[in-house]
């Protein structure tokens, strides 16, 4: 993984000192809260319902054991002993004090981390496939481009006051685990007919109150022009993006109102001009310097099948189940990619205690090349585990409540913090996720249901990605009571689609029953266990689900 050189280290340390000065000016009263707000937001510090919230960047979701241990230390020292992993592969602390914030950032800088641009109307943390560098059919590790973008976008003098926040995601395979089609810019690394590596560039995806799927603005951009092309897109957006209404300010609205053809023409013209005027792109040597940090780890040769691994699965039923859901094929024989679920039954999605973080740091060092990933699904990944080690790893995870076998099953729910923490929320998300998870606690039942992604947002801003949930749940407030609207058919992969509203909303008790009714309807109506939930919804349409959910309507009609 990437390591700071003296330039990176100095940059982050200076940013900490700059913020320390800003906090001191706030605490002394020199700055009003109004004046301080944009400054703290540029360093990921929000003022939430009950306290400050600090969002720490985990660039493209990759971190070392040492870094994870530091996150644990911060949780223990400055928070209430836990942290919350987010859909942007970051971590949030919900209870730090303003006075402690500079010290926390200093502790982060010591392990090559920061909170730069984790909020504000700027280019946010670039996200990437959490299985990067570990799976077959990858054209190039997407973290190389992500790190290139991280550096270029850090304190960018032209793009720090954009119309709205700006999110970029990168995938290196055709099977998309980074949700690139619901980002402001999505990059898909591919080869052209000549075998050269480059990017398909998509623009204008997003969620929020106007969800949209990104459109291709350039089918193939040679790799060496990545930054100049991004600069052209960002400049066009910065000048033309709407600023009259924050809900119409994302680039998706510009794409929608301008049309992708016209926008493409503007971007290409801008790109041509700026390429004559300045040098934005990295020289090849610098790209390769960064790429060298993402060389595949030197994994000791191993047999494709391990007798010990097979035997352990025979003997240990829980292990067998966990392998079935949470262990994925690695590109190297004898190795596996492991999903660590942060979705225990009845737990808070994405939360981890300091002790759990410490343990995972140890396990990464011992079993997975000292490297961890955070997924946009709010779980963790150990990307390079020898199959022979899987059983030992499983037992250690299980001892800490981290071996829930539910990756991509119905209890692997994405949920935003909701009204329990968030100042924007209209309704609670976490308790709904917990209730659904408890309702489906039987693993046999979860296996029977198969892949089913439930995503819950506590307001229309859609931080819980409900638009792209197979079942999406949106919390709304009606005269002081929380209601939940259901959508069906959303997905965030390479066939990304926005879910559609099913019918009238349910209250907090009713929504869990409603989800169960949807699931039961699927189980009854599907052609067999091979027909997934999404396939069944596509074939059946919404009617069978509506008939079961709203029988009184049928009676009235």
């Amino acid at each position: 993984m990437y390591r700071y050189d003296e330039f990176d280290a100095t940059f982050v340390h200076e940013r900490v000192e700059q913020f320390r000065d800003q906090v001191a000016r706030r605490l002394s009263g020199e700055l009003t809260e109004e004046e301080f707000k944009p400054l703290r937001l540029m360093n990921g510090l929000y003022l939430q319902l009950h306290a400050y919230m600090l969002r720490v960047a985990i660039p493209y979701g990759t971190l070392s054991g040492t870094q994870m241990r530091r996150l644990a230390h911060i949780a223990r020292t400055y928070d209430k002993g836990f942290g919350h992993f987010t859909t942007r592969q970051n971590i949030q602390y919900n209870w730090p004090t303003l006075e402690d914030a500079p010290r926390i950032l200093e502790e982060l800088a010591e392990v090559e981390m920061h909170a730069i641009q984790t909020s504000g109307n700027c280019i946010r943390n670039t996200t990437a496939d959490p299985y990067a560098g570990a799976i077959k059919d990858e054209v190039e590790d997407p973290r190389i481009a992500s790190e290139v973008i991280r550096q270029w976008s850090s304190l960018h003098p032209e793009f720090s006051f954009l119309p709205r926040k700006f999110k970029i995601a990168v995938t290196g395979t055709t099977h998309d685990r980074a949700a690139v089609k619901v980002h402001d810019i999505g990059l898909v690394i591919k080869r052209n007919a000549a075998g050269e590596v480059g990017f398909e560039v998509l623009v204008g995806g997003g969620q929020g109150r106007t969800p949209m799927i990104a459109k291709t603005i350039r089918d193939f951009l040679p790799k060496q022009y990545l930054l100049s092309y991004l600069e052209a897109i960002l400049r066009v957006y910065n000048m033309l993006g709407r600023r009259d209404n924050k809900y119409k300010a994302r680039i998706k609205i510009l794409v929608h109102e301008t049309g992708i053809e016209e926008l493409s023409r503007l971007v290409e013209a801008e790109w041509e001009s700026l390429s004559r005027e300045t040098t934005v792109d990295l020289p090849r040597a610098e790209y390769e310097r960064i790429a060298a940090y993402f060389e595949p780890p030197d994994l000791a040769p191993a047999e494709a099948s391990s007798a010990a691994f097979e035997a352990a699965q025979q003997e240990d039923r829980d292990f067998r189940h966990w392998v079935r859901t949470n262990v994925k094929e690695h590109k190297v024989d004898g190795y596996a990619v492991v999903d660590i679920s942060l979705k225990p039954i009845g737990g808070v999605p994405g939360d981890a205690t300091a002790d759990q973080m410490d343990l995972v740091a140890d396990l990464a060092e011992r079993y997975s090349q000292d490297e961890l990933r955070v997924t946009h699904g709010q779980n963790l990944v150990l990307a390079h585990v020898a199959k022979d080690d899987l059983h030992a790893l499983f037992k250690e995870l299980a001892g800490a409540g981290l071996a829930t076998a539910n990756s991509r099953l119905v209890s692997d729910i994405i949920a935003c913090p909701g009204l329990d923490y968030c100042a924007l929320a209209n309704a609670r998300s976490i308790p709904i996720a917990q209730d659904i998870s408890r309702r489906f606690d039987s693993l046999d039942r979860q296996f029977d249901i198969g892949p089913l992604e439930i995503k819950i947002s506590g307001c229309i801003n859609a931080c819980g990605h409900h638009h792209v949930g197979h079942i999406g749940i949106l919390g709304v407030d009606r005269k002081g009571t929380e209601y939940y609207q259901l959508t069906l058919g959303g997905r965030a992969d390479e066939n990304a689609a926005i879910g559609k509203i099913l019918g009238p909303a349910f209250d907090a008790d009713g929504v869990v029953d409603a989800v169960e009714t949807i699931v039961d309807t699927y189980l009854e109506e599907r052609r067999g266990p091979d027909e997934t939930f999404l396939d069944a919804v596509e074939r059946l349409g919404f009617q069978p689900f509506k008939d079961r959910l709203y029988p009184q309507k049928q009676a009235a009609a």
Binding site: D5, F7, D8, T10, F11, E14, R15, E17, Q18, D21, Q22, E35, P38, L39, N121, Q151, W152, S154, L155, H156, P157, E158, F159, S160, F161, L162, L227, R235, N238, M239, R243, S273, L274, E277, T278, T279, V280, L282, P283, A285, E286, R289
Partner: protein, 171 residues
């Protein structure tokens, strides 16, 4: 309002005219784009020192043909959150080759000086009481930059590239 130009507190000899205010020919004048368009020829005849103020949404293209006759382009920040003028400043410098003063006016805050200076601004209308020391400290808070912009900083990737050569020379 105080003016910081090239890093120093400077007396501002320019006067910003409202659109309906009569111009005094002997005072350097900054006028709105609308007024400049309406009275262009008369203004250029009467004022050796003339500047134009652009609002967000008014791009430098609108005055591209007259830039060599304008001494100041003032870019207004009605709110610090409206960042269009950062692009305009870069376009003035890099696309149009403008060598005159690019002045930040409006909601110009200390924590934006560094971004503004990097984007090509060389003059800043700042809060009364702001010091040149504070300005310099703010623009030097972060020594190096990752990306090339309009200022003279060499991007970090270029400094990195230069490193082996320096190391070799030292040996």
């Amino acid at each position: 309002m105080a003016l910081i130009k090239n890093g120093r507190l400077t007396a501002d000899r320019w006067h910003l005219y409202e659109d309906d205010a009569p111009l005094q020919p002997d005072i350097p004048a900054i006028v709105s784009l609308a007024r400049f368009k309406a009275e262009r020829d008369a203004l250029l005849r009467a004022h050796a020192d003339l500047g134009v103020r652009l609002e967000p949404g008014e791009t430098p293209d609108a005055i591209a043909d007259d830039l060599d006759r304008l001494s100041v382009i003032a870019l207004n920040f009605p709110s610090f959150t409206d960042g269009r003028a950062y692009s305009y400043a870069r376009l003035l410098r890099e696309r149009h080759g403008y060598k005159g003063e690019v002045r930040a006016v409006g909601n110009v805050l200390r924590d934006q000086y560094l971004f503004m200076a990097r984007a090509g601004f060389d003059a800043f209308e700042v809060k009364e009481g702001e010091s040149a020391e504070a300005f310099l400290a703010a623009t030097k808070a972060v020594t190096n930059a990752y990306q090339r912009a309009t200022d003279t900083r060499r991007p970090i990737w270029e400094l990195r590239g230069a490193q082996p050569a320096i190391a070799a020379a030292a040996e």
